[in-house]
Structure formats: structure tokens, C-alpha cells
Symmetry: C2
Subunit: 369 residues, 2 copies
Amino acid sequence: MVEKPLDYRDAGVDYAKIDPLKIAAQRAARDTAANLLRTPYREVEASRGESAYVVDMGEFLLASITECLGTKVLIADAMRAVTGKTYFDAIAQDTLAMAINDIITVGATPISVQAYWAAGSSAWFDDAARAHDLVEGWKAACNKCGVAWGGGETPSLGGVVHADTIDLAASCIGVVRPKERLTIADKLKPGDAIVLLAASGIHANGVSLARKVAEELPDGYATKISDGRLYGDALLDPTVLYSPVTEALFAAGIVPHYCANITGHGWRKVMRHPRALTYRFNKIPAVPPVLAFIQKAARMSDADAYGTFNMGAGFALFVAAKDAERTVSVARGAGVDALVAGIVEAGAKQVVIEPLGVTFTDADMHLRA
Amino acid sequence: MVEKPLDYRDAGVDYAKIDPLKIAAQRAARDTAANLLRTPYREVEASRGESAYVVDMGEFLLASITECLGTKVLIADAMRAVTGKTYFDAIAQDTLAMAINDIITVGATPISVQAYWAAGSSAWFDDAARAHDLVEGWKAACNKCGVAWGGGETPSLGGVVHADTIDLAASCIGVVRPKERLTIADKLKPGDAIVLLAASGIHANGVSLARKVAEELPDGYATKISDGRLYGDALLDPTVLYSPVTEALFAAGIVPHYCANITGHGWRKVMRHPRALTYRFNKIPAVPPVLAFIQKAARMSDADAYGTFNMGAGFALFVAAKDAERTVSVARGAGVDALVAGIVEAGAKQVVIEPLGVTFTDADMHLRA
């Protein structure tokens, strides 16, 4: 075991290298908005840099997004050797969740999805049990979110994707109707409450690091964690789908002022909104055992762990203070535990996690162009 | 050099293995249509199995699609060693074209796109020249099609995607407005003319086989072909974007009865429509030198070549016979050469290419569930 803490660079993901391209792409993309002037439709400019792109279609707003699963399939394949299960039903839900949980951040009702399943060889599709689980898991996740699965792409990409694996992604379109349901731009303000929705585990972010941890363990993914489960098994708990919560909130007459899907960059994502505001937490949710295990095994400080993983908070809802407790009730009614965890304050852009003495500042995240 | 003809199985793509999964996925996807009954929106059922998924939004129809480039990036990387150019501006157009040329088949005006750029390592994004060409080429292609680039995903997928390459895909949404512009379902009929739009070369389909051919050539991609160009250079001519043609047709008052994007499966794609009809060609377009070269080098029969590559016909428009010549004029006015090449007849489902004595029957393609 090495002594220094693991970080994402050890695990092969260097955000400093990706982000400059991301920013160049965002700038170029912004320039193309003028193309819509030839149509009756107009871009909702505030959606630039947000999790989903939004276009004003006249009668309603249309949101769209493409999201990828990442490398979680590699854990599923490794665990199959241990337990014999394919886990691709869970993997399918994870992939859908990446798109669904992002598109709902703008206030959209997800309508339809497209599947992107790019295997490294035709032989990947030969494994009938795995293919069956992927198809049925995808369908089940669509049903949970009330979306139509419109179709997709199932290429075989030898030489691009490794032969024995698959690159999974999902695209989603959603509708913001009425337009007042849009949860970006100027609604967020000091005094708003922050309600955190419970995560099931690692979801699908920070997976490269979780894999690195497995490599250092004598028993790898078969290591038992504090709750008696196998490490790999716990990692493969599917990502929570949060659209039943946002739909239930809408039905209850609660329109969040902003939403943040807690994915890569962990709790740093809480300060995603472009305004300079302070997000102060006086409570934190219970940490899923698998994430507590990783933090310890990877010798991560709380700042490292909360800046990388969801640590039990999969999604943040920013709501009027008066709606905070009812938001928790509605979320629980939709099957997802929730916690009024903090408050939005005027002040420098930062996330202050008081119970841990951890603060993330604007300098900790450079995602916007 | 081996003596037997190359086919797709030699090149690592076995459609017989992919198609059963594709069909299972199509069936499961169809079952999810009922989810839309909870919304004010309804699926356009005839779009199932077509190139894009279509939902009736009330005021208009909304089309969506996700498409991948495939393995053409591997040719770009190989040719960079020969000429020093990255070719990723062309590759960007290819990727966009996969989505744009599919979504227009249903009669949609493309509105916005999402980029999916999944690299095998963070280091891929370090190559500033290549990253610049990808970003600028993507933007230029968006401008050619009049679409807004809404955003995208740029993950680093070590262990899934090969370290020195990238998996590129694009999602697109489009609008069919007025709804009568929908070019699927029952419009296609005997007597319709088939207008073929010129291809620039291989586009991005049949690329695995083109790579296999390069492996067998002593000079590989640096081999000169009949027009004096390098094989690899000609392969990297970007795919023609056909949306300027379909938009010009709409402006001219011509609504095609059906469209087929000629991609994988080559001219077998002409019989994509679910009806049993015969597609009889009495003319064929000029074959791009790079495709003629591949056919010869891979010792392919005409049936093999036309059943695999576009052979100069990148897109098929099925129009009322009275509109055929004007369709050609409008296409040329939009900068794409075209040819009235054949006619739709009552009869068994087949594609008859009379100048070559080649016939494809329904048994040659099993894509529908």
C-alpha cells in the first residue's frame, strides 16, 4: 500500500487537462446560438454552462442532454467473476440516471431517451445474459422515470473501445411546461434552504478512484465492508433516479429555485450556479458505508472525499425556506430520503460544510467558460 | 494478400451478432411508449424502427436521435503520421453528419445537437492542435446545418476506450413543422421516383473494412489511388451534410414521401421502409475513386460493394415522379449533385440495380423487430 492519498490523477482522470478543451468547446458552442435566429425558436441563454441545454419552443421550453456512464462497467465485469451476476440491469439504471438526474436540474419533465451502447466487439453482444439484463434494466429504469425509450445506437467499435467492454451513454429530452418551472437563472437567492436527497452509494462518479482502491486491496472487490457486504457489490448499487421526486414536487406546487446533481467534483457541484453565493451546511446526511470505506482505504481527508464523492447526498434542491420541510416530505413520499441540510447566504462563492470544518471556494472548481 | 474477398466479419463487425440484441432492444423500447400516456405527448408509432424517434408535441412533431461516428478516428490518427494534419475538423463533420443525415430522414429541421467525446485518457485532450480542429470543425458543421450546439460530454474513459483514441457521437433534436412534413409512414408508393444525392466518398460507413484493406497494402494509407490522391486522404473526405438539401426542398414546396440515409448495409438501406415494395434503379451515380479502389483491393463483387458502401449515393429521396427533376435542381442549388436514378414499384421487397445486375432481397437485411 502506498502511503500518500489517492487522487484522481493517480486514477487516470486529470480534470486540469479536460477542462481547457471543455471551456473552448463551450465558447464555440455559444457562438452557434445565432443559428437559431433562422428558426422560430430561441435559446435560453442561462442554460449555457448548466447541466442541460434549453430552447424556447414558444409553447414550452425544451431541454436536451447527452451523458455517459463512465467506467462503472469495469466493476460490473470484475464482480461477475465473483458472484456470477452480470449487474447490467443496475448498470443500465446508472446510465439512464446520468442523463435523467441532469435534465431535471433545469425543471424539465423527462420525455424520451436514446441509448448509446458502443461495444468493443460484436462478441460483446453474444453474452445473452448480460445483453438481456442491459435491455431489461434499461426498460425498467425508463418505466420508473416515465420516459419513452425512443431508440439508440449499438455500434461495435473495435480499435476504439476495448474488445471485452462497452461504452454506455444516454441522451434525454425533456419539457419545461409551464415555462415558469424553469429552475435556472435568477431564482436562487440568499435565504433559500438546501435540501439534500439521499444517494444509494457511489452512484457513477468517482468510479476510477474506487477501482484504484480495489487494486490495492488483497481481496479486491471481494473485500467485506462495514455492513458485511462485498465492496464491489456495494459499489454496484444503482444510482437513484430523482425524477420521481422532482415530478412529485411539481405536483405539490413546489418549484425549486435551483437544482444541482452531485456528480463529478462531489459537493463542489453545490456551487454550480453562476452567482457568487455561500452555501452553508449545518447538517450532513449519513455516509453510505461504501463511501466511508473508500475514504478510509484511499486515506482521503474529508475535503478530498466531499470534493470527489456525493458522500450520501446525490442531489441538491434549493427551495424557498418556507417550502423546505414540505420538500423533505414530498421526497420521502416519492421514496427518496431527504434532509434540510443548509442555507444559501450572501457572500463569496463557497461551500461551507460546518460539521466537518471543510470549505470549498470558487478556486476549487473551474467549469465555466 | 489473401485471396478470398474481405467482408465485415474479417473486419471485426458481425451484424448477425449485433442485430438480435438490437431487435430485443427495439421490442423493449416499444413497450415504454405507454409512459407517454401520463403526459400530453404521444409517440408517432410509425417512427419506431425508423432512423429518428418522433413524438407529437401538439403544435409540432419532435424528432430525436443519437448516432456514433464509429472507427474513422483511427484512420485520421494513422494519416496524421503521414501528412501531419490532424483531420479532426473533417472527423467532427463526419460525426455531426451521422446524426444530422439521420434526423432529416423523418422530415425534421435539425435544431440543436449535443457532442459526445469520450477519450481513452485525459492526455488525449492535451494535443492542442487536434482538440482545436475538433472544436472548430464541430462548430463549422453546426453552422452549415443551422443548428445550435447545446453542449456535450467530454469524459475520459480509461479502461473502456483505448488510451490514445476517442469515441465520438452526436445527439440531435429536430422539429417537423408543419406536421405534414413528416416523411415516414404511408406516403411512399409505387410510381415514386428515387433521387440519389451524391456522396463525397466513404463517409463514415464501411470504415472497418477500409482499414482492413489498408493493412494489406504495402504502403497502407499512403497508397496512391486512381485520381492521384493518397488512399487515407481520400477516405478522410468529410461526409456530406444533407440538411441544406432537405431544407431547400421544403422551401421549394417539395415534401419527400420517404428518405433513406445510405449508411451501414449500403444500398440495402434503400428498402428500409416497412412496406413491401420494389426499388428499381436504371441509373447509378459515379463511384468515388476511393470506393472503386476499395472494391478492387478487397476483391468485392458489385453485390458486396453496393451492399456495404454508399458507392456514390449518400442519401436517397423518394419523391412524387412529377417532382423528380425539380428535386435534382434544388439539390444542386444547395450544392449537392443529384440524379433521378430509379423508381418505386409494387412487388416483392427488393432493390434491383439493373446496370449491375444486382438484386438485394428482404432476406439480405433483418433490421426490424
